[in-house]
Structures are given as C-alpha cells and as structure tokens.
C-alpha cells in the first residue's frame, strides 16, 4: 500500500476498492448498499493519484463482494481494483471488468420499454466497453454511459 492510501484508515479484514474515479466514489458506496453495515467503513475521495490525477477509495471491513456488485462497480469505475484483505494484507487483487451481458444490473432508459412497464428482469448486451455502450435485449435501444441507471 502507498502512503496516500493509508490516509484512509486500513482495515483488518474485508475489501478495498481502489482507483475509483473521484466522481464515482459515492456511486460505488451506493452500489455496496452499506446502510446498516456494522463493521468499519472508510471512504476517501479526491485523493492524489499518479495514474488518475484524483481518485476515490472505499474500504469495507468484514465484507466480500458479490458478482453482481463487482459488475455494477465495473460500470461506474471501469478501472477500479478490488483488493481482498486478510490480516491487513492484500491477499488477492483483481481488476474489475465490464461483462458482456448485464442481467438485472441496470435499467432501460426508454420509458416505452416493456421492462419499465411490467415487472421483469432487465438484460443488456455490451456493444462497446470504452466508452460504454449497451443494447437492451427487449426494446433494442442503445444506451450510452450517461443514460445508464443502476437497478
């Protein structure tokens, strides 16, 4: 860990999500649905980063991420890294990746899409990863990053 990362207090066991674009830090927090979480949570944003200029970091004690959470994080922070911490040590480091299909992760931006009118799971195909462009499996509408809303 670098000194800068330590400016957000370390955790003994849990998950550290690093290299989040600063403007997505709180989106990541929202994805993790941490309300009521009883273990330590440290959030840092607008931290100096050599690679990114400014970045955010979220540390959550006693939590491992589900696949759905990792997929969602990939959408708002495509270059984030997820570190799994045991005894203050990084045991595993992985880079998030936008999957080829998004099932029940985002909402369709087309108000006339059946998925916004009848309760049903959503499904999207990733047409382009950078910048993100997805296509609704149902209404076939293309959506770009700024239109994407999480479920």
């Amino acid at each position: 860990m670098t000194k800068k990362e330590q400016s957000v207090s370390a955790i003994k066991e849990g998950t550290v999500i690093d290299h989040i674009p600063s403007d997505s830090t709180f989106k990541v927090v929202e994805i993790l649905n941490l309300e009521g979480h009883r273990n330590i949570i440290s959030i840092g944003t607008n931290l100096e980063s050599k690679r990114m200029g400014k970045k955010g970091i979220v540390k959550v004690g006693g939590k491992s991420l589900t696949k759905e959470e990792v997929d969602k994080i990939a959408l708002v922070a495509p270059n984030a890294t997820v570190n799994i911490i045991k005894d203050y040590d990084v045991r595993k480091k992985l880079h998030v990746a936008v999957p080829d299909e998004l099932e029940n992760i985002i909402k369709c931006s087309n108000p006339n899409c059946i998925t916004n009118n009848e309760k049903t799971d959503t499904k999207f195909y990733v047409v382009k990863k950078e910048p993100l462009k997805v296509k609704c499996h149902y209404c076939e509408r293309l959506m770009e990053k700024e239109d994407i809303k999480l479920v």
Binding site: C113, T115, N117, E118, K119, Y138
Partner: protein, 305 residues
C-alpha cells in the same frame, strides 16, 4: 434450415442466408397454394393496438393454408384492462394456439412475450421498435420487382427518425451491398446510431433533404408517412406534413425502372395519379405480405423445410 418453433421478433435475429431462405419459401407460397398445409393448427392474433392491414394479412395467410385464427384486435376488451400482465396473458394463450402473432404499443413486448410462451411468437409490431414481417415483405417485394437484392440504389424518404420500417429495412438491406440515400428534413433524418452502423459495415450512404437532387440515381424509392402521433407539438407536425408529396411532376426526374414503395397507410405522400404508373409498387407490396406471412407460419410450425 430448420425454423420449427423459432420466434420471429427482430430483423437483427436473422442472417442473410436465413432471410434469403424465407424469401424463397415466400416465392413458393405465392406460386403454389397449399390449402391443407396448416390443417388443424390455430393462430392467435393478439393485437393490443389496432392495425387493419397486418392483422387481416396474418388471418388471411393462416386461413389460406387451412388453419384457423382466433384473437382480439383491441386490448380494451380483454383482461389486460383488468390489469393482467403480458406474461400471464401469454401463459394463457399458449394453451389455446399453436402460433401467436402479437402487436403491442410497448417496445420489447414481443421479446418478453416469446420468453413467456412455449409456442412460437411472431412480432407484428412492438411500439417504435421492430416489425420484422413488414421488413421481410419489403425485401420480397424488392427482390420480385428488381430480380435481385444486391447493389441497388435505395432512397428512403420522409420520417426517417421515427419510422421503424425504415430502420429495419436499412438493417436488412445492409446484407446486400446497397447505396442508401436518406432524404428527409434535418429534424427527421436517420438516427446517428444507424448511420454509425452503416459506416462500420462500410456501406455507402448520402444524407439529403432535396429529393430531386438524387432522384435520378434511385432504383427504389421507399416513401413513409410523417406520423402525426410522433410529434409532441402539432405546429411542428404541420411544418413537415406534405413536405414530400410525390406526384407525376416527379416523372422527368427519375429512372424509367424506378419503383416506389410505401408501407401504407399513405396520407398525402403519394398522389393517386402515380397509382397507374409502372413505378407504383405499394399495392403489390401490401399483397406480398400474405405470401411472406404464409411462409413464416409454415416455417415456424415446422411444415415447410
């Protein structure tokens, strides 16, 4: 090629070979009546939104092949009004019919309907999204009139922004190395996403607002209605309605072999004076709908191989 139990939801689901196979089956349907091909089979037409032409054409196709048709043409008389979901409606109807044709105002409804139903579902229009049987009959009409689909100069005219027939036909024709001329006022031009798709496929296209500038080049002119219901502001609509009115004054500016198509209904895009000319293809186009739908019904019910 086996189409048994296949859903027909979007033109994007069909390869070039599959489209050509469907056109071949349509041709044999036109040549040879098969009055007993679908004996004992039932088509359900679920039209949550009115459409005379498409529904009658499906029913006629089914009955010409010896099958029967049930269904409704107006959602307000069904249990949908009582709040039944589309999913549940499909779960019920699949027990009553062997194949289901659905038209619904919401985009993506046909795909969802197909997922709910174990019987093959044919999309007869889902909102502004897809109407694949229209596209297939358009292809069939072009192929029949021109003797080929490859290397044609195709003009698309009118409301290219909202017109789903134009979008689907553009996608389908992209298999056949066309040159496109998108003729519309700027506000109603082809959406950028379709133009990007064409660029990726290296297909030539021209954007134009003046028909006469390109009319001499065209083999096919596909006219569409400016749809009043798409305009939030009636003044805006008035600005564009009648902007392209085709009549005999066009004749000196086109090739002798040019064919004019229109998905119908027309309002005032094509003057009656053109009906009697050799250029008019729109009524034949509507008639071709029955052949193509007969082929599709036979294919998805496994009776044409």
């Amino acid at each position: 090629m086996n189409f048994k139990n296949r859903d027909v939801i979007s033109i994007h689901d069909f390869s070039k070979q599959e489209l050509l196979f469907i056109l071949k089956a349509s041709k044999s349907m036109e040549k040879k009546p098969n009055p007993n091909l679908l004996n004992g089979k039932i088509l359900a037409t679920l039209f949550f939104e009115p459409s005379t032409r498409t529904r009658l054409s499906f029913v006629s196709a089914m009955e010409q092949l010896g099958g029967k048709a049930i269904g409704f043409a107006n959602a307000s008389i069904t249990s949908v009004k009582k709040g039944e979901t589309l999913w549940d409606t499909m779960k019920m109807v699949e027990n009553y019919a062997d194949v289901i044709a659905i038209r619904h105002p919401l985009e993506g409804s046909a795909r969802l309907a197909a997922e709910a139903s174990s019987k093959p579902v044919i999309n007869a229009g889902d909102g502004a999204n897809q109407h694949p049987t229209q596209t297939m009959l358009d292809l069939y009409t072009i192929q029949k009139a021109k003797g080929k689909l490859e290397n044609l100069h195709i003009g698309m005219l009118g409301d290219l922004k909202y017109g789903r027939t134009v979008h689907s036909l553009t996608t389908a024709l992209s298999h056949f190395n066309p040159t496109f001329y998108f003729i519309a006022p700027e506000a109603l031009q082809m959406p950028q996403s379709y133009l990007d798709e064409l660029k990726e496929k290296r297909i030539k296209f021209f954007i134009e607002s003046n028909l006469l500038k390109v009319s001499k080049k065209l083999d096919i002119l596909y006219a569409t209605r400016i749809q009043k219901e798409r305009f939030p502001d009636p003044i805006e609509y008035e600005k564009y309605r009648g902007i392209y009115k085709l009549d005999t004054s066009l004749l000196p500016h086109i090739k002798k072999e040019l064919k004019i198509m229109h998905p119908l209904p027309r309002v005032d895009e094509i003057d009656k004076s053109l009906d009697k000319t050799e250029h008019a293809l729109y009524f034949q186009q509507a008639a071709n709908g029955v052949h193509v739908r007969k082929a599709l019904l036979g294919l998805v019910l496994g009776k044409i191989r």
